[in-house]
Amino acid sequence: MIPELGHFALILALCLSVLLCTVPLWGSWRRNVTAMALAPNLAIGVLVFTSLSFACLTWAFLQDDFSVEVVANNSNSLLPWYYKFSAVWGNHEGSLLLWVWILALWTFAVAVFSPQLPLVMLSRVLAVMGFVGVGFLAFSLLTSNPFARLLPGTPADGQDLNPLLQDFGLIIHPPLLYMGYVGFSVAFAFAIAALLGGRLDAAWARWSRPWTNVAWAFLTLGIMLGSWWAYYELGWGGWWFWDPVENASFMPWLAGTALVHSLAATEKRGLFKSWTVLLAIFAFSLSLLGTFLVRSGVLTSVHAFATDPARGMFILVFLGIVTGGSLVLYALRAPAVASRVSFAWISRESLLLVNNVVFLVATLTVLFGTLFPLLMDALGQGKYSVGPPYFNAVFIPLMALLVPFMTVGPLSRWKRDSTRRWKAELLVPALVTLGCALTLPLFHEGDYNLWVALAVLFAGWLVVGLLRDIANRVRHSASIGAGLARLTPSYWGMVVAHVGFAATIIGVVLTSQYNIEHDLKMSPGDSDTLAGYEFRFIDVRTVQGPNFVADEARFVVYRDGREVVRLAPQKRRYLASGSVMTEASIDAGIFRDLFVAMGEPVGTAGAWAIRLHYKPFVRWMWAGALLMAVGGFLTVADKRYRRQRSAARDILRQGGVRGAQA
């Protein structure tokens, strides 16, 4: 009964979405205030019914209702309750429902937190989001109904959740990732609404900027969690594989990063308007493309969902309507004449342009690499696989190209600046950083590493540039404290995100360069030393988990004769599916991780294949991503967004001017 209720709620949500994407749009065209004012209410209705539907599916999982097909395929009565909960989105149908629910959440948020928007703009934005909702609700209901029953023939127990997904990281990774993916639909909706209204101005950029920043921050968190999960769960210590599904989330992030920066230029200076609109369309289209790649089976990947050409066809048609339609609209309505605002070559505008070009090229190279096997296959040129060598070869130089400009950016002035001023500001910091970069790698044992020197140079250069800029801004205040307090949240957001980028550079390069990895056969009693840490293999014992049995190896790690940590990696066999999983054991630290994973038993004497890793600075990568996300969230706290809101409330209080504004 409950699953049918969920199914019914989903159908109602679809009906409301159809209304949401038609009635307000008609209202905005006919200047019908009543029809436009319906939009926020419809958005609330869609949220209520998708929430109800989502709750019903969750209930089915928690109650072990194995007559529901997705529950039978992805859950098991032995599964702990929190994994039953996350199993809701550990499969294609459920994750699509999560996607729809998060879209409803964003639509609701726009409806509620945008009182400053003119009603005509708000109704258009919500209508566009309603249209996206119609597509995904129909996709869910027509091709991937999460409430399909197995009647008769209900199995006694479920087939269990894929053990790889039985993990804390996977409870929160998909929701955060989808918050980011779907969040770009807001920027997209604002762009389309602006094109429809024919008003691409600074106000439009100011409205869509906080939404874009928040979506970008969520996406950053989602990608970070995915990488962290791969690191400790897949059991071989890698953290980024350039897998098509990873690329699917990374491309919108790259395009989103470009968008965040070009929105800044559009808001502050009224520049790059058409370009910003195009980026907004591009970022959301890449989210849709990602969905297509993950769920259609056109590319092979380690974590693609169960695939089905009918689903692929549906998303492709939807992608065609959304992206094709918006690009037609763009071609017809975007301002074709160059902006009258001008800027000199040496200016902040140019630097933001460099950022945009670099990130766009990066997005396109990743897109090209991801689709290359498909393109060659479609052209009959045979089967190819594009791996990390290609991506590293093109991506790393691009990022290296970015950093020098990235330091100058915050220091530079709008409109016109001078290289002499930049030199005066940055010459001393540059020399200091260069000195650090050349000497710091000497402290590491072993050969001098040029890549590390370069990474320290880049990261240090970024941070020193930011410090210099903060110092400039604080200099004229009465006290340092007062000066710091005067800096706006959006400025702090920029600083934090850029520092995060610097930390990520350090993390990625140092862990790649200084990583030590031993694969060896070890018997209880053996020991092996890497980077001064002695790993002693004590014994192996059998451990019973809630839904698995495991061989657990016990290691004690010593340094200079003192015990550092005890590690206990496991080799688990899950009872329901019979699949065997490697559970690595990691001692995390600010400057290094120690990582032990078990391979296979070797021979009969109790020896095991063991993988030992020493990974310096690996945490810096995720800490950096975390800082980037925090930076993104911080910008939203800026007063200038809130001021409009309270101003708008004042207007509201003075009598329904909102309708008149339309």
């Binding site: 056109v298 074709a336 689709l371 060896l520 070797v602």
Partner: protein, 180 residues
């Protein structure tokens, strides 16, 4: 109207891309290029892992055998390894194709984990892999006595895969070999 036309460029690029995506839907990326099923094993001249002497196609055909693509960087190969050992112990000839790997690491692997292979073909550049259409390690090809590829399995060979898919073909290929 030229500036306006320029704005159609993104649309044009998207249409081309969508065309490819549409074509992609009807292709199965996991499928072996059909040209290779029931076609001879591609010719090659590569070195042997153990002693560095030259191996060519003629050295490894003549009886039905499995060709297993593996590498030390491939964690699934490690999972697969004990089962290959079992198969080898049962008398199934297995040749290894050490794919895009380092020789020293591969030799250490075989010393530590055991060596189920008749011989290992060193495919450092992945040229044989390209001819075979290798996706990634591990992959296993079933080749009959005449050197014709009869089956390709992508992924780990374990007891279930062997019993359900490979063994029936294996028996058929062996029976064929025994007939004059």
């Amino acid at each position: 109207m030229a500036p306006r036309l320029k704005l159609f460029l993104p649309l044009f690029i998207f249409v081309v891309l969508a065309g490819f995506l549409y074509r992609g839907l009807s292709l199965d990326p996991m499928a072996l290029p059909s040209a290779l099923i029931d076609k001879p094993l591609p010719a090659f001249t590569l070195t042997a892992l153990a002693d560095g002497r030259e191996l060519s196609r003629e050295d490894v055909i003549g009886e039905p055998a499995l060709f297993n693509v593996w590498a030390t960087w491939c964690i699934s190969c490690r999972a697969e390894h004990p089962y290959l050992q079992q198969l080898a112990d049962r008398g199934v000839p297995i040749y290894g194709i050490n794919y895009k790997d380092e020789d020293e690491a591969a030799r250490r692997w075989l010393r530590e984990l055991g060596d189920p292979y008749r011989a290992n073909i060193v495919d450092r550049e992945g040229t044989l892999g390209v001819d075979l259409g290798v996706y990634g390690a591990p992959e296993t090809y079933l080749v009959d006595a005449a050197g014709v590829i009869r089956y390709r399995h992508v992924g780990v060979v374990d007891d279930r895969v062997w019993r359900d898919t490979l063994e029936p073909i294996w028996r058929e290929v062996q029976a064929m070999g025994e007939q004059p």
